[in-house]
Subunit: 487 residues, 2 copies
């Protein structure tokens, strides 16, 4: 917490010194996925970015309560998320499953993807369906304050009325009149008084699957409401950081702020952080353009636009090589460059433990450590941090090759630096003992033994067989050669 | 579904033919963990048992909706789960965390344990806090039917009134008068009219952390209620299988049945299945006896009562070697026997693909397959199934050793049988390429090389170093010895 951290606040459109409301506590809310389909790459980037932020804040001493929700109801298909069919219920009908079976399937899948990329679980992972009561209570408050109105069992937020005393577009700084001109009038919106009004509570048609009783009849909450209700419940009316993908700022986050201000008079978060988009070879990633791929396809290489697969840590490293507020462009060449870079970094890392200190010293590590912190303190600038870690890599290689001398004190600093920034903060890990090494090593051992037998060196060949037996492997000789199995 | 499956029904105290209400659909509800501490061995056994049942029902063609809840509120400390402090809130106070942080920590941990033991995720995993409205609605129904009463903001179920027209002890067959005599009158129970009455809704004291508004004021649901509300929601008023640990039958499941019958006139499940207890060296496993250990301790061996650690699949195999309705006694000797048995099974399994069919045939596999199904159809008798699979193991080894001939047709049946029952139904998997083998093998290779050097056999020592280099491993020699790293 001694760090002089600056973060870019979408709200002020500038970098601000990070001063939490109740240090050493930090409350951070990040909008989670709607679990109606496989986790996609854009979300993956967003959650890896906030994992970096969570790890760094924790590292510098804050006690972070990180809340990331699961949207399991109420997210409709329309542009603003509150028109048309419920995304999860639609998928459930197609698959002839209960909506909560869809929720379970894709929540399990999302957690697997998060685990593969070594992101830490958030402190709390609340669901929309788990907070219907809290959402109903918030609708009541907004109604009581006069910022919402009921039409036939649905409740809408009155944007124009709100904007008379508050600034509806405070987050993006856009012009409200422009917004009004550019907003389409969609069918089914007839109940709304104003074009920008949005649903807080939606009356359920008889065939609607996910619905609950409320003071206004059977219905379900609007998508934007859950985040306001859950962030208030777990982080209070005001907390430190609210994050999400940049695409959420104009509507979802704008409406969240309006809901919170209307209900309890406060913009919920002091700092609003947004992650930028992914592109593929310079184009927006989208299913319709045929240039999208899923996280597991990126790992397996099983997609026509990928020339090969990349390990999970290569993907994480690739993502962290761009700043979270920059667009990140996927391409096979860029991925291959990251793969090489990650190997270079981890190879140096593996040499670190074996380095020997010298009596004399030719390199001071503290300035390098200071530059690593400076990079992270500049709005979590991971690409600059990685460049500094490559300086560490060069030092490790030079010392290892005997071209540079380092004393015990600086060697210890170098070890601490690499462990802290590579493992704890960037969240990278060695993929060293991957399962696919075992067959290669066994092949080598079998070749050694065969050679010993050819040379009539039966002492060695027996030693190999017995040694393997002791650690649980059996060699099976046959006409076709020797294969192995576990005992 | 052509199978002639019989299951032991606690309700009738006998084996009954399994005839689902709406074939090919099967609804199965299993009481899940209260997430206030690490997953314990007893729960682990219960969920591995129901995983076997889920896998077998799915294998024989049923479309199973398997619901297993997460209790994240309302489970109090008293014997009946509705007296004293909320288990999660108590832990939250001790750890100075929000209760939902406790819930998240132990839910993540529970899922990890389930994954380690290769249990499939259930179809739906609903939470108590996610179904407060449904629980309130059920309390209203029970009140309306006259089977509950309100005292100062709390609602209690009236067991004596219920028992006038229904059979409260139908599940266990115990005598109600005996129960009344043996039930202690606890402090704080004064609000209850009868000694066996239990809480449906509990008024929250001001300091209580997890509470919601209701028609009776601010409170929280009783522990037994959630399962009634969630099973009804996702499986309907009547479904096929309700499961859980045997310890849940006398109170939790007895009360669940009473709630469902009171609210909608139906015992919720046709078949009630219960898993038996774990013992350790013949004694009940309990913290106070100092003979308890956690799943990860059983794997690491890091507990004084364990002579060593056992792989996750060894543990799963050990558990499946007992029938789910038998007590299962842990002991180091029994575990070591299971470890050997599991290795024997998996070693034969690994030979299977390499077996060559013969023109003649000395063994018929179909009768063995029939016996495997017969075992599972006899109330999921996994120990008998495993004995049959060892017959398969003997056949595989005999064919492999050239002592028995098998033709192509029977070899194919043998492969199908082993794959189906070992992998799909028992849910075992090969641990062959486990990461922890790599260090052991590298140690052996380094020892071989050192010996070669001591014997001045530099050809061999260089061959080892170069061979490793080619497959991406580097040896680092120093005064302390030789270590290795990936290049």
């Amino acid at each position: 917490m001694e760090q002089n951290l600056f973060v870019y606040n979408t709200l002020s459109r500038k970098k601000e010194k990070f001063e939490p409301l109740n240090p050493p506590h930090v409350g951070m809310y990040v909008c989670g996925p709607t679990v109606y389909s496989d986790a996609h790459m854009g979300n993956t980037r967003t959650y890896i970015s906030f994992d970096l932020i969570f790890r760094y804040l924790s590292h510098i001493g804050y006690k972070v309560r990180y809340v990331r929700n699961i949207t399991d109801a109420g997210h409709l298909e329309g542009d603003a998320g509150d028109e048309g069919e419920d995304k999860i219920a639609k998928k459930a009908k197609l698959a002839q499953l209960e909506p909560m079976e869809i929720v379970q399937k894709y929540t399990v899948g999302f957690h697997e993807v998060m685990q593969i990329f070594n992101t830490l679980p958030p402190s709390i992972e609340p669901t929309a369906t788990g907070h219907i009561i809290e959402q109903i209570e918030m609708v009541k408050e907004i109604l009581a304050k006069g910022y919402a109105y009921e039409v036939d069992g649905s409740i809408y937020f009155d944007v124009e009325k709100y904007n008379q005393t508050q600034d509806y577009t405070i987050l993006t700084g856009r012009n409200l009149d422009d917004l009004l001109v550019n907003t389409r009038t969609l069918g089914g919106q007839d109940d709304k008084h104003g074009k920008l009004d949005f649903a807080l509570w939606i009356k359920a048609k008889p065939e609607h699957l996910m619905k609950w009783p409320s003071p206004w009849g059977i219905g379900f909450p609007g998508w934007h409401l859950e985040c306001s209700a859950m962030s208030s419940k777990y982080l209070g009316h005001q907390f430190d950081i609210h994050g999400g993908g940049l695409d959420l700022a104009p509507t979802h986050h704008t409406n969240e702020i309006a809901q919170n201000v209307a209900a309890c008079g406060k913009n919920p978060a002091k700092y609003w952080l947004h992650t930028n988009m992914l592109t593929v070879n310079g184009q927006k990633m989208s299913k319709s353009l045929g240039n999208s791929f899923l996280p597991h396809e990126l790992i397996s290489g099983n997609n026509k636009i990928l020339s090969k697969g990349y390990s999970p840590m290569t993907v994480r490293f690739f993502m962290l090589q761009a700043h979270y507020r920059s667009t990140l462009d996927f391409g096979n060449e860029a991925m291959e460059a990251s793969e090489k870079g990650f190997k270079r970094l981890m190879n140096a890392f593996s040499l670190l433990e074996g380095l020997k200190p010298s009596g004399s010293n030719e390199i001071e590590i503290q300035p390098l450590i200071d530059r690593c912190y400076a990079a992270m303190n500049d709005d979590f600038n991971s690409p600059v941090l990685i460049a500094e870690l490559f300086e560490g890599t060069r030092i490790i290689n030079s010392v290892h090759d005997g071209k540079m001398k380092i004393n015990a004190e600086n060697l210890q600093l170098l070890k601490t630096m690499m462990n802290t920034f590579v493992l704890d903060i960037l969240g990278l890990k060695s993929e060293q003992a991957a399962n696919d090494d075992l067959p290669k090593i066994m092949d080598m051992i079998i070749a050694l033994r065969n050679e010993a037998k050819v040379n009539h060196d039966y002492a060695t060949s027996d030693k190999i067989r017995n040694g393997l037996q002791q650690i649980g492997f059996k060699l099976n000789d046959s006409k076709e050669g020797t294969n192995w199995s576990k005992i």
